[in-house]
């Protein structure tokens, strides 16, 4: 009887905790949709912003955000794939694997402002790339690298051993094994990693605030050396400085679009993760 009461109480506490988490999430989502919804219109989505964000839309900010994310993904993907392959396929030493894995997890937990600071000093100042699209891509690439690397590594490690052994037994060398067995059986994991990494990068403001983006005076970058407008900066500046309610509504509208991008990325990553699991169980 006593055990039953304890179990029921524990279940009740867990339900309250879960409910609180879900409620908070719904509150945030609800307020963004409630406050940002009125801003949404064809013009808002496809027009340039004007009058310091008080008028116009967020077209260039949305494209800029996507450009920054796409560049970061293209830079980090080969590096993450190479690291994951090195760790899973080529390194025999357990110590090396452990050290590298710890480093990658530490990198994942690093505060993003540090990425911004170190990235700006290294890329922007030392390599002289300045406040630019290139600097932003490089910093975001480094930032999403651990997420991507871990996802790819997990996907590779999840490949059933029978496939590797079959490849080996046919005389496939390392490269052929990677090309025909490892990559085809782990690409869903790679895409999942990219999408999750991008979702993280999409929400990131601190790292790109002073390194890649400016609030006004820019449309789309004409070269790698130009800064790029982003939704994150747009929201931050409007939220801090806007005095009239129209500008604030536009900030909420931009937040809703950013949230929508993140939602799409995460939904796709879950969809692909499910498919990866099914393939691995074949």
């Amino acid at each position: 009887m006593k055990r039953e009461v304890v179990e029921k109480s524990a279940l009740g506490v867990l339900a309250i905790l879960t409910g609180t988490g879900v409620l908070l999430l719904l509150l945030i989502l609800g307020s963004v949709i409630w406050k940002g919804g009125p801003a949404l219109s064809w013009e808002f989505l496809f027009e340039a912003s004007s009058d310091f964000g008080n008028a116009g839309g967020i077209y260039y900010q949305t494209v800029g955000t996507l450009l920054l994310m796409l560049g970061a993904a293209l830079i980090s993907m080969p590096i993450a794939l190479g690291t994951a392959l090195y760790l899973t396929e080529y390194t025999q030493s357990e110590t090396v694997k452990k050290v590298l894995r710890n480093l990658i997890y530490s990198l994942n937990a690093m505060p993003t402002i540090l990425f911004g600071l170190v990235g700006y000093l290294f890329f922007g100042v030392f390599l002289n790339t300045g406040v630019s699209w290139l600097t932003g891509m490089l910093i975001l690439a480094v930032m999403i690298l651990p997420t991507l690397q871990v996802s790819i590594q997990e996907a590779i490690e999840g490949i059933p051993e029978k496939y590797r052994e079959t490849g080996m037994s046919l005389g496939l060398d390392h490269l052929a094994q990677v090309r025909s067995v490892i990559i085809p059986h782990s690409w869903h994991g790679m895409i999942t990693g990219v999408l999750l990494g991008l979702a993280r990068a999409a929400g990131e403001t601190a790292a790109i605030m002073f390194t890649a983006t400016t609030f006004s005076g820019i449309l789309l970058p004409q070269s790698w050396a130009d800064p790029v407008p982003t939704l994150q900066t747009h929201i931050l500046v409007l939220a801090q400085d806007a005095v009239n309610s129209a500008a604030l509504t536009k900030a909420w509208g931009a937040a809703l679009i950013l949230l929508f991008i993140v939602f799409i990325l995460i939904s796709f990553s879950f969809l692909l993760r499910g498919r990866l699991k099914m393939e691995a169980e074949l």
Binding site: K162, E165, T166, M168, S169, L170, G171, L172, D173
Partner: protein
Amino acid sequence: MSKIKNVMEMDNAAIFYNGKPVLDKVCCGFRVNAVTGVVGASGSGKTTLLRTLSRLNDRVGGFRVHGQVRLEGHEIYGNGTDVYQLRRRVGMVFQKPVVFPKSIFKNAVFGLKHLAPEMKKEFPQAAERVLREVFLWDEVKDRLHKPAQTLSQGQQQRLAIARTLAVDPEIILMDEPTSSLDPKSSTAIEELIVSLKNRHTLVLVTHHLAQARRVCDDLLFLNEGTVWEQGGCLEMFENPKRKETHEYLSRWNVDEPAV
């Protein structure tokens, strides 16, 4: 046996996992164009012996081989051995059928695609040849581009053998290839094994003593990580030299399903 040419031999070989011996003082040979059965209780080291012959354990941490393992007189664990070439020459068929999530055709030419990409135009003929060799052609010729997973377990195992044959190995190692198959599919694989020995040397690990008796020319009896007896198959069933061999092999017609 000594007058007959052994294509592969183990000479005083010992195999260790993390310093722990799994096989010890193994001396045995595998005759060319013969089927050698490897029998023994579970845990006696049969699969380890098989995997050692094609260096499939190289990735396993703590795996060590002492003594000699030779293919046509050349030490395969020595410096300078091309391990990829060795694995192509010494093919392996696993216990459970392994097909890649690709079409039947792509599975059949999977190894060829990498080992002889210049032959790409000849892949259809090569696929037909190996699928005929494993008696699968008539069953799949109209659905070559359908997923291989749609085949039955027995058909998948024959496809796996066809894929191995496509890279033309001299020796084919088979690790209990019928253990997950129904009696009808097992019979098909047994017939295939017998037909393959004209062109290949086969080493067959099996728990089915009746199967060993039906298809093997030679027999190797492993017990507790050592070779207790090796000889002609029927001779060992009829007149084993050791009491333990007699005790183990005498059950050949007791445990077997009627095939």
